[in-house]
Symmetry: D4
Subunit: 246 residues, 8 copies
Amino acid sequence: MKDILDAYAAGAIDAEEARQKLLQTFYAHGEEFLLDLHRRERLGFPEVVLAESKSVEQVIEVTRRILEANGQVCISNLLPEQADALRAHFSNQELRIAGRCMTIGPAADPLGCVGIITAGTSDIPYARECALVLEFMGVEVLTAYDAGVAGIHRPYVSLQEMGKARVIIVLAGMEGALPTLIASITDKPVIAVPTAVGYGIGGKGIGAMISMLQTCAPGVLVVNIGNVIGAAAGAVRILRGFRKDI
Amino acid sequence: MKDILDAYAAGAIDAEEARQKLLQTFYAHGEEFLLDLHRRERLGFPEVVLAESKSVEQVIEVTRRILEANGQVCISNLLPEQADALRAHFSNQELRIAGRCMTIGPAADPLGCVGIITAGTSDIPYARECALVLEFMGVEVLTAYDAGVAGIHRPYVSLQEMGKARVIIVLAGMEGALPTLIASITDKPVIAVPTAVGYGIGGKGIGAMISMLQTCAPGVLVVNIGNVIGAAAGAVRILRGFRKDI
Amino acid sequence: MKDILDAYAAGAIDAEEARQKLLQTFYAHGEEFLLDLHRRERLGFPEVVLAESKSVEQVIEVTRRILEANGQVCISNLLPEQADALRAHFSNQELRIAGRCMTIGPAADPLGCVGIITAGTSDIPYARECALVLEFMGVEVLTAYDAGVAGIHRPYVSLQEMGKARVIIVLAGMEGALPTLIASITDKPVIAVPTAVGYGIGGKGIGAMISMLQTCAPGVLVVNIGNVIGAAAGAVRILRGFRKDI
Amino acid sequence: MKDILDAYAAGAIDAEEARQKLLQTFYAHGEEFLLDLHRRERLGFPEVVLAESKSVEQVIEVTRRILEANGQVCISNLLPEQADALRAHFSNQELRIAGRCMTIGPAADPLGCVGIITAGTSDIPYARECALVLEFMGVEVLTAYDAGVAGIHRPYVSLQEMGKARVIIVLAGMEGALPTLIASITDKPVIAVPTAVGYGIGGKGIGAMISMLQTCAPGVLVVNIGNVIGAAAGAVRILRGFRKDI
Amino acid sequence: MKDILDAYAAGAIDAEEARQKLLQTFYAHGEEFLLDLHRRERLGFPEVVLAESKSVEQVIEVTRRILEANGQVCISNLLPEQADALRAHFSNQELRIAGRCMTIGPAADPLGCVGIITAGTSDIPYARECALVLEFMGVEVLTAYDAGVAGIHRPYVSLQEMGKARVIIVLAGMEGALPTLIASITDKPVIAVPTAVGYGIGGKGIGAMISMLQTCAPGVLVVNIGNVIGAAAGAVRILRGFRKDI
Amino acid sequence: MKDILDAYAAGAIDAEEARQKLLQTFYAHGEEFLLDLHRRERLGFPEVVLAESKSVEQVIEVTRRILEANGQVCISNLLPEQADALRAHFSNQELRIAGRCMTIGPAADPLGCVGIITAGTSDIPYARECALVLEFMGVEVLTAYDAGVAGIHRPYVSLQEMGKARVIIVLAGMEGALPTLIASITDKPVIAVPTAVGYGIGGKGIGAMISMLQTCAPGVLVVNIGNVIGAAAGAVRILRGFRKDI
Amino acid sequence: MKDILDAYAAGAIDAEEARQKLLQTFYAHGEEFLLDLHRRERLGFPEVVLAESKSVEQVIEVTRRILEANGQVCISNLLPEQADALRAHFSNQELRIAGRCMTIGPAADPLGCVGIITAGTSDIPYARECALVLEFMGVEVLTAYDAGVAGIHRPYVSLQEMGKARVIIVLAGMEGALPTLIASITDKPVIAVPTAVGYGIGGKGIGAMISMLQTCAPGVLVVNIGNVIGAAAGAVRILRGFRKDI
Amino acid sequence: MKDILDAYAAGAIDAEEARQKLLQTFYAHGEEFLLDLHRRERLGFPEVVLAESKSVEQVIEVTRRILEANGQVCISNLLPEQADALRAHFSNQELRIAGRCMTIGPAADPLGCVGIITAGTSDIPYARECALVLEFMGVEVLTAYDAGVAGIHRPYVSLQEMGKARVIIVLAGMEGALPTLIASITDKPVIAVPTAVGYGIGGKGIGAMISMLQTCAPGVLVVNIGNVIGAAAGAVRILRGFRKDI
């Protein structure tokens, strides 16, 4: 770019030519510029590698590259052999695992507090993955498991334990009624995650998801079935707002 | 049949011939026999005429025929012009109407008590039809409208008002969580009726229905969307049990 | 609570303070109160552990806890290794198994009689699980297997065997027509359970379920595909009514 | 073609040239040839004009053209204004109408007998259209309306009236169980037509259709919802076999 | 029955009493009567055992019972171990196998001829099962495999080979267009069988099935995905008509 | 409650009796207590009346009641006659309307800023309703309409205009890609609202909704099709966090 | 931009400052740059206004703006009153209409030839809209209507008439088999458009669409149901390639 | 044919007889004629063997036959054992493999250039199969992997690398937004391939497919989920146009 500026300053090219060349430069190097822009965004949430559909080699390679660039990486939907290979390969790194999810690298700076409530025991593995990712992002996590609506008092009690949390993530399968109940007794942001628990019509989380989207409680925000990383990312977006002056 | 018996008594035919003829008789007149059998069943619930897909003349004709045979008739899914025509034609009969449902003839003998709980104001027209049919069958009906889960205490309070009821019919649209909640705080039979309230994915009662089928509360029994007559009939079947010695 | 009462009695706090403190107490200990309430409900039906999505350790732990609290427990959707582990761990208990369902602890007090009718041989495993759970709840079970509609007389004959039953549970896959037929020849409560028998369009029980919800017989009550425990619980709710004065 | 033959006979072209020209001729006039072929097929069933998506002018024009070519035509899914226009325009023709279906021209030669059984009153309009089309094809039609499964004996009785019929067409909406029942008590060909009767999940004939495809009775053949013309055409195909020596 | 007749003849009971007793007799022994009736139907098509959802022991037991009663039996959806066990157990019987389908016992008397046309190589296993069942029923089978529409002439050629056939069974997966084409160039009955060939949207035969139900060719009759036994049974129903005088 | 305390203080009842009576009191008056609790929640978002399924009288009555209790009310899914009636009846109130949504009463205290971005012109009516509700809640609203992905730069530019906003609500129909794009260039919370714009497969907003749930951008939070009130309520939940110390 | 260049040339800012300012300039004016880029794209296909969901005023306003900018505009999904208003408002413009589609302004320069084949008469309105848009883009259009597969020769004959066409657009509803047939007898690009013709299962074009996606002919490219503009745009993209040297 | 011509020339038959015989000849040998016709089509794209549903022997046999006839063959959806067997059996042939796809025989003559862009790493295996098939057809392939919309600049940059390509094939799973973006910044033909990447609602590529069909960018042409061979065939159809004079 300096060359163009100098050529213009030297009168070797006129203003229009300079403009053209600058635009071309920009155009040619658009990637870097935009990557800069993109990096700011990435500060908000770590790169997540979807392992399942990749070979062991691909997972390690992609993980290594992101780790070099960002210093931290999150891998989801891990198969056992992928998890083993990553553990072996990055044994000198700070490495944590929950369910099919792994984080490598140090956790981010403290960001605030999020509560996770689950409807049943079957939802706990999802909650653990969600907590892992949140803690990796610097979030303090409060949990209340097994708060399902079949015991009508449990949602109420579980919410009592969420005191400091600025966002509540609610995980439920089956009929997925818990987020509706939680949202009707708190004014905090509620992110609902349907889990793939259920059977027959509406099974595999379909019923829970539809139920959450049809909620009669105002302001329940939903992610796809089992998308705990999306829920965590949504919560992180909210928490980051508290650190900014706008 | 007497002819066959007499022929046999008179020796005009032998036993085998008599047996053949009797079977043929039965076979030929199977309808009447089975209609007898059937009538006993009908005592349990009135004939219901689905008006919507019939002409005004057909509705009147079918109604008249059932009324003559049974002394009472219930008509559902009435269009306004059908309702008007029926009212005009059967003006000398005891005639009640709720929403798109009409009953003609005197109510049956007292049968017991059923409670109806609705989640929201939009469910009330369904509840009114359900109550009409139940009362026509001799059932005392207790109602608690607007007991939706968005106010977590409301299901609980609504149940308090159901004291004498032997069956609870719960109507809900949207996310359909109310029957799950009711069933988790009572051990009475709970019949869940999804109503066609809702929008977008899971709209027109689909979400409510799936939610009720996926319930994590044990023993919620479900009928199709808006099928208040089926729910009433199910309740009547249960109540009739209390009048029998088995 | 006594401390508050005494403080008030001693004049250390005034009535309003006492009221506040009592409410806080209640609020803080709401769980216990509500658990009491909940226990009454549980008397109606045992806790059911959904095994499938839990580890062997979790299943044993949850089972043990419920067993200590309630004296009986039912586990469903068992994987073979879970079943083996439970059998080993609770070998000193009264333990029964059918299909993927297990009960531990003594059966409840006698509660009445339920009939189970299946459409085909493939539905029998479902019926066995259903019977196990019912018997565990103190219910006498009558069965008539293979009463499918392809033999038009079979539904009729099967119903003859249901004499004493106060509720009929009908299991069917494929086109799911059997509950409709049964309900058109009895006035007893009919609970329909679609089973995951079928293929192609409407397979895995979807066709049977839809058929049952679309029934033209009045009062067929439906649970989700394969939900024999829900059906059993629904029947138990009905039977318990016969033991109460309302 | 004769020109080519003559040119070859005259030695004006050689065998290869003649072959090329003949193929070109064929290729160019393939349509006529194939139309011939096609006509044989058409003898089996009249051209059917789907009126609904056409303008009044288009319907009249298409009808006129087919009528000129074939001497008879069938029009389906008629809107009222289309029906009126056709009646006016072809007033000098033999013209019959049932529901939204019209036939113009004389009926075909006698072809045999088909039975039509309906489950409920709402299915009768479909049956009338089906009968109209069959009779137009020369088929004698026997009917038994309102043979629904809710009265278990009715299917049986209705079948008694089908004596001479070589094919049974069964129309049913709701849970669509009737074809299964009919097929389990006759060995005649059974063509099942789901009608758009029903509501909620599986409504608009979806439940009936799925039920018929999932039938546990062997050999039930199905057409799309409300496709009475397809059912009639299928029956005609079967009947025509009886007139051939193969 | 003779006792009742004699009692009447002897004047021990009057006509009304006799009538009541005869009806009771009939009622009590309805099963046998209806079984008689049913047996006639069974002559039309052999009992088919759906093996998949049964244990090896159950399959053998059911097979044995039907074989004793009827002299022939057909088993479908066989798992390899079930097939092996049947082969071992019924080694002294005439036993044929195709794909997952097995027949035991001698074929029925000759019944006529059916043609089977498949769209692609992947449909052939379905065709083989279909042919096995048909031949077991005494049907001569003509086949034309790989007649798919991607080669526009192939459907036409394949039909040429079907000369003697009175019914054409067409199997197709993917876009399922073949039955439409066949039905537009023959006036014979066409039974369409969608096969579970395909992928993505409309995969597993859904697309083929819908296509067949939406056909613009008149009179295509459809069975569920992969239901070759239903198709065979439908063809047998048609063929049997040619042996009757009505 | 004071009576019980006094009775205890006076020694008229012992501690256990007092405890029992206090619990009964609580139990009997649970509603009030919980309503208190509930009221806190309501402060977060106004009561919303779903007008569509109510009569004009019902809408006015419910509106009046809420207005008396809360001083402000929001009505959605208004039919024209309902809107007219409300305008006439509450003409002395501060009343605003957008699309099918109306607010009555003064706006709440300032709460912060939310940005609304729409993909196309067809989404603007949804945006207007959303803005109305947000402003009623005291929220400052920034808008950028027509930012659809078909012009790749538009999402980027639209985001530039959202400076002060703490939450971005993105509305899109058709393929619903916009929220994904917005979420990949901002770290603010993104709430995605599918609109009922589209046709054919995935029409009526289904495609947009699924697309938003499948997003590859982390942290997109979704509400049901057209649920602008839910989106507004979700945003309000987030904004309220900024006013609290936790 | 010249100011920055001059400031640098004058030494008022250094190279780094100049770079920063240029980037900011770009950033701030990114829209214009990208609009330039975008305009090139738009040359490929006119802006299309989706009228249906807009008010009459909006449609006129948007149309006017695009017309001023581009000199031509296409409006789709017009309601009658919108069409009338546009006709009145742009009466001094070259204006053409087909079905619910309108073009305003002169057609583009000649671009090549496209063939349109329809399966049935009901597809012709779609074809007319498609032709209108293509001709507006400078495309010569050949048409062959009513080439449906029910007459097996018709697809073949219709293709004969497509001689000069470089792309074939095939429209079909019902079972949607025509594109498969066309694609199996030509090696030209085939774009398949399902039309909303059909009923029952797979109705409204769903069956046709799935059929086209499941095609066994290689290389059939599909657009959404009724998306004739998308098909036209796809064809234009292909034709434009012939005018470029790459 | 010459015999007929000669017979006519010799006067042994008259013109009508000759015509009849010629038609019969054609009719009898229609297959060869049409095969000729068909072969021209086949030149456009190699025969593709769908391996998955065939036995190892069938795959080898079909492959061998096509190879003999055409000199080249493509096999898709290979199972590992099938791939091994083919490799062993055709070891003396030019054989290439990618993912589950194999080509045997020499590549076709150069045909032009196609670009392949993928949204994410998980789409690369699909891209490799697509490239293999294209290269086998003589197509030069340019690739840009991992151009997903989560980095908003990436689609733009990826397109820069597609300079020479006359067609762009875009593969994407999840929300499937990439083809829309690519199509909004290029006027080249865009073929969109949804891949089976995704989970929950809209998983297995359903969401991506619907998104592509709902695209707001004009002219995106779609194939079924994972149908890379269809996409390649579509591209080849377009490229072949450049080699013809029309």
